[in-house]
């Protein structure tokens, strides 16, 4: 029974449509953009599709940018960054360095390497401390490095 519930997400989540979570992700990014990326025009993302994917369960979202907003994309991604959710969380919390995860084979880059590098460097250049300072307490705590 326990096994059934622990394997349920791995089996069912990949079958769910990706558009709703991609729309939510785009919405959140668009809300954050004025605070975090004021000087960024995202020209490097114009007409491109980037995919953030989990290893297990095999799900992901594909996003692009129309020059003003992040938008969910249906087309095949130009580049995919793939890792476990714990490793994505560790990167956001700034506990793990992406190159280290890459050396350790825990972060994969498939497709256009330069676009993937730009994506990585854009995330690195983001002031996550500024984000944590405006989020509500529990969310800020969840995204903060563990002591």
């Amino acid at each position: 029974m326990i096994r059934f519930f622990s394997t349920l997400p791995a089996k069912t989540l990949p079958r769910l449509p990706e558009a709703p979570p991609a729309r939510i992700a785009a919405f959140v990014l668009n809300r954050l953009a004025p605070r975090l990326w004021q000087d960024e025009d995202f020209a490097w993302l114009a007409g491109r599709a980037i995919r953030i994917a989990l290893v297990e369960p095999a799900i992901g979202i594909t996003l692009g940018h129309d020059g003003r907003h992040f938008v969910p994309m249906q087309q095949a991604a130009d580049v995919t960054l793939r890792a476990g959710w714990q490793d994505f969380l560790a990167m956001i919390r700034q506990e793990a360095d992406p190159d280290t995860l890459f050396f350790q084979r825990r972060l994969q880059i498939d497709g256009d390497t330069e676009l993937g590098l730009h994506l990585k460097n854009w995330l690195d250049a983001t002031d996550w401390d500024a984000l944590r300072s405006v989020l509500p307490g529990p969310a800020a705590h969840w995204l903060s490095p563990r002591a």
Partner: protein, 332 residues
């Protein structure tokens, strides 16, 4: 005994702040263009970001050094001159350069701006360093990672120029400033385009458990299940040589000098440099914290390398092992 400055890398404003927060004495950075040797997509500083970074560092009593260490390309020298002007106008404490013409321009135009001779300048002996000192008034030289420890000591004893050495980070094949391997496969090299193995030419191809690394279509390595990957450079690829497949040029290793810090300090080394402007603020924070603690400890009596420093540095290193590199080589 002189306590060397800790010089740490920053590819972004958050990385610069992390370096300052965790104890770097100086942070080195570059502009978003081919005037520096880490010209990667999305990396480096705009002018407003550099201005903010300089203000942040100066508020904490630290320095910002700007690397303009590639070689100006024909017909485009103005672009490199402008980079020197921007660094000076934005309040940089020093510029790190390799090209003699650019050094002359900086010395003539901004005599008060300190000039460091970059590792890309490949100055490995006291005569070369002293010539750059006489001609361009360089105050510091970054030694290429090709010298043994006794050679570093000899050079330091025969020049009035401050010596900066690499203390930690990924290693280059031992032809620094003169390497054209990347150019052989892609037409672009660090000295001309500011980038080794440009990302546009790199493809990572995961097939089952095996990861294939290709540079402009050339297979340069193949990593089996759970085998650590490295940067996709030709020098660290594995090649078939007379029936054997191995690291024919250089193994992917990381330099780690924690064990020789007291010796470097006894030689009067002015600065210890950390490689890695291409890496994240997290890396900068982690390495800076360890090196700061180690340098402070080495300036006291009875220094020993603490196991937790080694394990923290091992965790973020490229390659299978850490090494003293050329500092400890029996051959000459």
């Amino acid at each position: 005994m002189r306590v060397p400055h800790l010089v740490c890398p920053a590819g972004s404003l958050p990385a610069l702040k992390k370096a300052v927060d965790h104890g770097a004495d100086a942070v080195y950075v570059g502009f978003k263009d081919p005037t520096n040797a880490r010209n990667f997509a999305g990396l480096n500083f705009t002018d407003p970001q550099l201005a903010e970074g300089v203000a942040y560092a100066h508020r904490h009593g630290r320095e910002v050094l700007v690397a303009i260490n590639t070689y100006p390309q024909a017909g485009q020298t103005g672009h490199w001159h402008r980079a020197v002007d921007r660094a000076a106008e934005l309040g940089a404490d020093a510029v790190i350069m390799a090209d003699p013409g650019l050094l002359a321009y900086a010395a003539r135009t901004w005599p008060q701006l300190r000039r460091h001779l970059s590792v890309q300048g490949s100055a490995t002996n006291a005569d070369a360093i002293n010539l750059a000192h006489e001609c361009f008034g360089i105050s510091r030289v970054v030694l290429p990672r090709v010298l043994t420890l006794p050679q570093v000591e000899y050079v330091a004893a025969h020049t009035p120029v401050e010596i900066e050495v690499f203390g930690f980070g990924s290693l280059c094949v031992m032809a620094e400033g003169r390497c054209a391997l990347s150019s052989w496969a892609t037409g672009e090299s660090p000295n001309t385009h500011g980038v080794c193995s440009p990302a546009t030419h790199v493809r990572w191809d995961q097939q089952g458990d095996t990861l294939y690394a290709r540079l402009n279509g050339l297979l340069i390595d193949r990593f089996g299940k759970d085998e650590p990957a490295g940067y996709p450079t030709l020098c660290k690829g594995r090649f078939d040589v007379a029936g054997d497949t191995y690291y024919a040029l250089e193994e992917p290793t990381s330099l780690n000098t924690l064990s020789i810090l007291p010796e470097l300090m006894r030689m009067g080394i002015a600065a210890i440099k950390v490689e890695g402007r291409q890496r994240s603020p997290t890396y900068t924070a982690q390495v800076t914290r360890v090196l700061r603690a180690a340098i402070d400890a080495a300036s006291q009596e009875r220094y020993s390398v603490r196991p937790e420093w080694q394990s923290q540095l091992t965790a973020i290193s490229e390659g299978h092992q850490q090494t003293l590199g050329a500092y400890h080589r029996p051959w000459r």
